[in-house]
Symmetry: C2
Subunit: 425 residues, 2 copies
């Protein structure tokens, strides 16, 4: 119990807007419930009023864009579905008797099949998923209720009206009470991702090329781990960009703000994070070797230090440029400095006689290839574990000394690990 | 119109189960509608029957695990919410008169705030999100209807019963008509991801180290691009593993199949894909240089070829081991062969006098660092584009010749590109 409370407190502290959103939903729901009790708006609606309550709960999303998307989807889909259902009903009654019911059943079946299939189309899934669902749902509701002629018209009318009221309340609360904008969220996420990449370069430079290098601690440094969250931001970014499209002008973001460009920047940030991941996994595996070599090469170390420092500064300036929406000339200065540092590193390398064209090129490819082999070995071990846990069958062409095979594989692993270290020394 | 049809045909051909699922939803919905018309099950339920239709549409998910999760969430949450709402109602009527309404309003507000906040907790978001939503919704519905004493008990009872019927129909159709299992999907996704990694290594080996190397075409080879879809599978895998947990024994997967191990393998596959991405982006940028060097070093080229071939074969065997759920000894042979190839590469390097300890190590770090710098430059260009599109303000400390700055930045970019190529030559 105490654990849950601590967790929730942390969640609220990490992002105050979560608590804010919770209160907003509370306000909207209490509002619609009170309207039901106090005012005459809902008079004559009877039990249909529940649609308004339901709509508020279902449509209230964290961001204005989310509420807008869901609200519009719900309202438009209901309208379309009611119209189509009436059309279907009118076609059906032409046949009369049993034929009417069968025809309506066929309509429901066809609509369900087509609508469900449409939801697999990526563009529709991203933007109109909820609308297609509600269309299918409302069409069936109206068609089904017309089976028994339960005042079909009134049902449809009430559903439309109550849903409109629900959407209106959800939207008003969402926009008027401390609005949370999807676009702004995407904007801040982009700046945060850049800061995390800069954070890695800063920590990496200091830890790895700094004066007092303690390589055994690189693994555990929190600063060097924050970039990992950049690796998996694609889904969040795509969804925020989609929701942001619909949001009206707010703060310094106009209606047609270039949200697509944020996705482009996001994909570049991820590419950078993949490189950082490769660099970091290479360094962690070869820590002790690299350490001693760099200690002997203060000039190379200093040049690497400069490169990481300057690119870190450049990215940091870019992050604050995005955050404050101002163009800063500083980033260019730092980029130039990084270029200078790269030039000076090249000089150092030639002076020390270390620059052998082939070696440098081949070394990079070989190192990465060996990293991939080593990763493949980790995958093998994990799959062996899975085979044990899930009780994989032993293939007929395996021979009968499985245990021996296993022992062999373990020694192979150690051997290759040894080899790759030797090669990379 | 023709375009949409072609797209839909492609979607259906890519995965036949999509069409299957659409028909299943059609069947379930027609079934519940027909039940409503034909049988006496729903007699006396009046307009509440729509809850059953609604439940079928909302609960039918692509996989059995999805339908099970949503169905259980919906049924349990409704039960709990009805019980809580009755409790709240009984507490509220003790106060009587206006106090009752105010107290119920407070209850609704508190439930909405707490429930909405709970949905931010990751574990709850992953597994019980829909349940918490339905709890909040049903609690409000029952509490609101008790405002006017509209046969609250009957409303709750009907809602419970119709939802139970809806969930039962959705589950029966989901399990009995061509079931699609989330667990099996995760299983196949893991095998496919491994195959994609093997596909890259195969194409990479043949294209880059093969006899007839055409480096200018590496970029456009489709085979070398398939690994990219491995980079962003985390969300899908996590969701499938969550849904798989609930599924009963099916085929060769028992109830407590080690789905977590699949997530572990998935994260290793992604790590491998990050390395592949780093390797591939390095090669694409330095194609022509690397090409000529490797042509002069047939022995190194052959060794690299062997390494990629053997790790590719090992991963391919692992993929089919997962797919067929059999342990195959072949993967170990290929891993050993990859280790042998690595050993022989090391020999070749020493014989040719190319193995300089420092150079190899430093080269890798320097190359990756320079890749990061170059990626940072791409980010800078993208952010400059954003600044233009979104109309960023010009910072006061920029000076007043923005155009000159821009020109300078372009030439910097070219310059650094030049330098990094020189360094890496």
């Amino acid at each position: 119990m105490v654990g849950i409370c601590t967790k929730m407190k942390k969640l609220a502290n990490d992002d105050h807007r979560r608590l804010l959103h919770s209160f907003k939903v509370g306000i909207a729901l209490t509002l619609v419930s009170t309207l039901y009790y106090v005012t005459p708006i809902f008079k004559g609606f009877g039990s249909s009023t529940i649609w308004a309550v339901l709509t508020v709960v279902l449509v209230m999303e964290f961001t204005v864009g989310g509420t807008l998307t869901k609200g519009l989807n719900r309202a438009m889909a209901t309208l379309l579905a009611v119209a189509s259902a009436f059309g279907a009903h009118h076609v059906a009654i032409l046949t009369g008797g049993k034929g009417e019911v069968i025809l309506l059943g066929i309509f429901i079946f066809l609509i369900a099949v087509v609508a469900t299939f449409l939801r697999f189309i990526p563009v529709i899934k991203a933007r109109y998923d909820y609308g297609v669902l509600i269309f299918m749902l409302t069409f069936s509701l109206v068609a089904v209720s017309s089976f028994r002629n339960h005042e079909t018209f009134m049902l449809a009318y009430k559903r439309l009206m109550t849903i409109a009221i629900g959407v209106a309340i959800a939207l008003l609360v969402s926009v008027l009470v401390f609005p949370i904008w999807a676009g702004e969220d995407l904007h801040l996420l982009t700046a945060t991702n850049l800061e995390r990449l800069a954070g890695f370069l800063e920590g990496f430079g200091a830890e790895y090329f700094g004066e007092k290098v303690k390589h055994d601690k690189i693994k555990s440094k929190a600063l060097l781990q924050t970039y990992k969250s950049v690796l998996n931001t694609k889904a969040t970014e795509d969804s925020l960009a989609n929701l942001g499209r619909l949001e009206p002008r707010h703060g310094r973001f106009r209606f047609r703000h270039p949200w697509k460009q944020y996705q482009k920047i996001g994909s570049l940030c991820r590419r950078c994070a993949y490189l950082v991941e490769a660099l970091s996994s290479y360094i962690i595996r070869s820590e002790s070797q690299a350490a001693s070599e760099l200690e002997n090469n203060t000039r190379i170390r200093d040049a690497c230090m400069d490169i990481s420092k300057e690119s870190r500064s450049a990215i940091k300036v870019l992050a604050s440029s995005v955050k404050t929406m101002t163009t800063l000339s500083d980033s260019k200065n730092h980029m130039t400095a990084a270029a200078e540092a790269a030039k000076s590193l090249k000089m150092t390398l030639s002076e020390e006689g270390l620059l052998i064209r082939e070696a440098l090129h081949i070394a990079t490819i070989v190192s990465l290839l060996l990293e991939i082999v080593s990763c493949a070995q980790d995958i093998e071990v994990a799959i062996e574990e899975l085979a044990k846990l899930a009780g994989f069958e032993i293939s007929s062409d395996q021979g009968n000394d499985g245990l021996k095979e296993k022992e062999k594989s373990v020694s192979d692993h150690v051997e290759l690990e040894g080899i790759s270290i030797v090669v990379l020394e």
